[in-house]
């Protein structure tokens, strides 16, 4: 690192502060000074919208730990991230699903090597309703019948829910995601079944946050989104794996013991031999410090090493 002399550093302090302020606007910055004059190494981190909040939090904290590395995060979806890895525009692709064999084949075809997979945590897809909705729990069968094509459940009264304040309709207003989002695919495969499609007529939002936002404004709505996107204006409802079975709320414990039925792993993919600065970043992500951020942003961290089988 190119350390300036103390006097120089003193005179450079206001500038460093200014640089820091500018950096704070874009990526966050916590340690001004020596690192500011070194050209930072950049890690392009692209992919899953579900993981974008988490990745952003990692990037900001990592800036404080390694000021010479700047992690640039953008969303767009798991598919976009993997496509960016294919094109070489991403150093790390975030994906809230396993890479498809066809995608892996394409990467091998382009680069000659297989991508490397890192399991970095879990996401529990929560079922949200409006905060005034009196519903207390829901089963996977009911969710299937609400969302899956050719299923007749489309009224709240069929679930025994009446008197939703200001709903103005008995119809269940389904909120979903755009059809190429990783969350859409995961929810479809888990709730509707791998061979079944969604029922038409759902409001397809373009982001995890938008789903929660719309549900919070619409009394008759139901929607699914990452646990990390919960706000005080929506109600998260417990889900039971079968009708009559115990319904559980998504949490770290219920995700890790697999009793919550709609949770999924979160991955980061890199080229097979990531450069050292990317490697170091990933090691930090998987360290207790990095995993603490997973928990703080509302996702499920990896189980501690001793608990792993």
């Amino acid at each position: 690192m190119n350390r300036p002399s103390p006097t120089l550093r003193h005179s450079a302090a206001p500038w460093a502060a200014l640089t820091c302020a500018v950096a704070l606007l874009t990526a966050g910055c916590s340690r001004p000074g020596p690192g500011a004059s070194v050209k930072p190494e950049v890690i392009q981190n692209i992919g899953s919208d579900t993981m974008v909040n988490l990745a952003q939090a990692w990037a900001e904290t990592y800036q404080g730990i390694a000021p010479d590395v700047s992690v640039e995060v953008s969303g767009g979806g798991s598919g976009l991230g993997i496509a960016a890895l294919m094109n070489g525009t991403a150093d790390i692709a975030n994906s809230s699903r396993h890479i498809e064999p066809s995608e892996e084949a394409k990467i091998v075809e382009r680069t000659g090597v297989k991508p490397r997979e890192f399991l970095v945590g879990f996401d529990a897809l929560s079922i949200f309703v409006h905060k005034d909705n009196p519903i207390t729990e829901i089963s996977m069968e009911e969710l299937h019948d609400i969302y899956a094509e050719d299923s007749a459940l489309d009224r709240w009264s069929q679930l025994g829910v009446t008197n939703i304040p200001n709903a103005r309709t008995d119809r269940i207003i389904r909120v979903s995601r755009q059809n190429n989002s990783g969350t859409y695919h995961y929810f479809r495969d888990t709730v509707c079944g791998k061979k079944t499609d969604f029922k038409l007529g759902s409001l397809d939002m373009n982001g995890s946050k938008d789903v929660v936002e719309l549900v919070s404004r619409t009394p008759g709505a139901i929607g699914y989104s990452g646990l990390g996107y919960r706000t005080p204006n929506v109600k998260m409802i417990p889900v039971s794996p079968r009708k009559g079975a115990r319904a559980v709320l998504p949490s770290i414990a219920t995700t890790l013991d697999k009793s919550y039925p709609i949770s999924r792993p979160m991955f980061m993919y890199t080229p097979s031999e990531p450069p050292p600065h990317v490697q170091r970043f990933l090691e930090w992500v998987l360290s207790p410090a990095g995993q603490k951020i997973v928990e703080e942003t509302g996702y499920i961290p990896m189980p501690p090493p001793e608990a792993q089988p």
Binding site: N179, S181, Y184, H185, D197, G201, L214, R217, G220
Partner: protein, 305 residues
Amino acid sequence: MSVPPASPARQTRSALALWGERAVELLIRLSGVSAVLFVFGIFLFVFIEGAPLITDLDWSKAIFSPDWYPTSRENVRYGVGAMIIGTLSVTGLAMVIAVPFGLGAAFFVSEFCSGTLRETLKVVIELLAAIPSIVWGFIGLSVVNHLIQRFLPAPVGLNLLNAALLLALMSVPIIVSIGEDALKAVPDSYREAALALGATRWQIAWRVLLPAARNGLLAAVLLGVGRAIGETMAVLMATGHAVNIPTSLFDPIRTLTATIAAELGETAVGSPHYRMLFLIGLMLFTITFAVNLLADLAVRGVRRQ
């Protein structure tokens, strides 16, 4: 090209000036032709991207079926019927709202007010036209959404009515400014003659100006329609983006444009889904072409009478 220095022999133009003039002439001609070239170029690009799917597609299903499942695992279906209906219904409703207001405003600005009021109105209306569509979308998402939920018996605030209101607000400025130009183009002698015959201002507007400026007013309305059909961001945010054939004003819908905007970014280049989105673009092209052609024919028809 530089202007040649003033010389005593100004009448006999230098070779430089002559060539300069030709160059400028060519440039102007090129810019005229370029409009045509660009339209064809864009059409060709969209066509080429979508073409491989044209023969593989069951067109009757694609156009009439509402089943839009481009990313299905088992049963991929490319039906855009619901989106065509969505686009037409939101545009239609927007025009029902915008045309009376737009033409009324055009008449008012052109015929019934003058001085500062008129100038102020013109500036404000033009300002309305300058608001970016994403801002309209945001207004729909936060303000109109809330108002509809609060004051109308709508189960969800993102719906046909919300988007139509926004589109109406977006196309009114176009209708007003083109409509006003059309009214201004009516010779003053018409107004004077009518006045001399003892017509009231209302009679002048209704019986003289409306028939006389019919072509221009029609063009104004159709340009408004064009604006509404092509709008993307605002409708993506305000319609609710649901593949749904609307049966009431409060039903969420989805438009062709919004589908392209929402899905193209994450679609693998060259996949059937990608090509289908380009074919949707082609459909939009066809619809706008039909609207423009109709406008042209209508204007010609009116002219012949």
